[in-house]
Symmetry: none
Subunit: 131 residues, 4 copies
């Protein structure tokens, strides 16, 4: 699994790392029970401070996606995020509204954005067959 950080992105580094892991799980690059890179390894690979990796792993643990054990490492859990359906949709709504605003603001056809969305989602879904 590769962690990539975009310094030009406004999103905090640790959240970018979280997204990388989530993406890896979504595509099947990481599966239940798999061990994540150690904090030290990940820090070297992503060229960020260990504390930042630490914080990202903590966040992932809060999300219920991984489980860290002293001296053993961090492992992907089987449980996905356990939000109620209603909460999930509500969380999405914020993102959707933002995207809609940008779309209208930049006068880009909604259908174009939908095509982008389908493609982006497909990338995440289909690659599950990779390994």
């Amino acid at each position: 699994m590769i962690i990539t950080i975009d310094l030009n992105n406004n999103k905090p580094t640790y959240l970018q790392i979280v997204d990388c892991v989530r993406r890896a799980v979504a595509t099947g690059a990481l599966k239940t029970g798999d061990q994540l890179p150690t904090i030290r390894e990940a820090a070297v690979q992503a060229r960020v401070n260990r504390n930042t990796i630490s914080r990202a792993y903590l966040e992932l643990e809060h999300l219920g996606m991984i489980r860290s054990r002293q001296g053993a490492g961090s492992f992907v859990t089987d449980a996905g995020p356990d939000l109620e359906h209603e909460e999930r949709v509500k969380a999405l709504q914020t993102l959707v509204d933002e995207l809609a605003l940008e779309t209208v603001h930049y006068q880009i056809p909604v259908d174009d954005v939908i095509a982008m969305l389908r493609e982006s989602a497909a990338k995440l879904g289909k690659e599950s067959d990779h390994d």
Copy 2:
């Protein structure tokens, strides 16, 4: 009543204000040449400090959406954001990818999200007929 602040929203107040104005322009509630609420008015109305409105208007000016003149007020500019089409799409891509990740992660059907997006965009677009 253009500006509304959601204290529960993580987004900084001044950016929420920016989005309010962008939304108002997108829906046609504000048109080229229109005067924005004065900083003092907006501050009272949104119950925030004057400086916060100032910050938001400054951001809007940097976005090329409004023009503020000492002693005169702040007015909507004719020119929209002047990014190249390619840059617009690139900016959208980030948001789209985020949305796709959330969609897959929470195992929500892509079509549901697309429906939400269409609705959200329609809300912005259709209200242009108001006057």
Copy 3:
């Protein structure tokens, strides 16, 4: 004499008016003893508030370029600005340094800027023959 205001210019309106008059005097469009447009006329022509014209005329009077008399109007005086040579140069230095910074910053050849300067100065100087 025509007063033109550029709303996109950062310079305050009243100073833009001052510059217009100074330019008119430099080119010979206005000569010693000539009457300036009345405040009311100028306000209509430039589409600005009378107070703004008022302030510009006040500034011009402070510069010693015009003389206003109650009920009679404002007239161009023979005396130019009466700064010492040293002060003049010092005043210019600020502008020159700003221009130099912009030139280097935007990586424009100094000679190009000099050409622009010569041309701009020539425009002011040569038109003295017009009337």
Copy 4:
């Protein structure tokens, strides 16, 4: 000691700071990737409030000259200002015209001003050899 403030200068403090940084980049005192003084450091050094430095850095970020990241610091960006050449020249024209007006108005020989300009630009350009 990059930042110096002239209290007698009419220009707002934060813009003086912006110019200091632009000058530092122009002379090569600051290069791509270099870290700027932290906001707190700069505030102490320039004897102004932290917010004033913040404002200046914000402006520099909008100019595309620096990039600030929470917790990390502010760094000089590789990309200079990305205006089209035509726009650069247009921006310069305003300054040039102002300078020309002053020159003619104070009856200072254009060649004197040109000499001043060359010298001022040379100061910025030549110091690039420092290291």
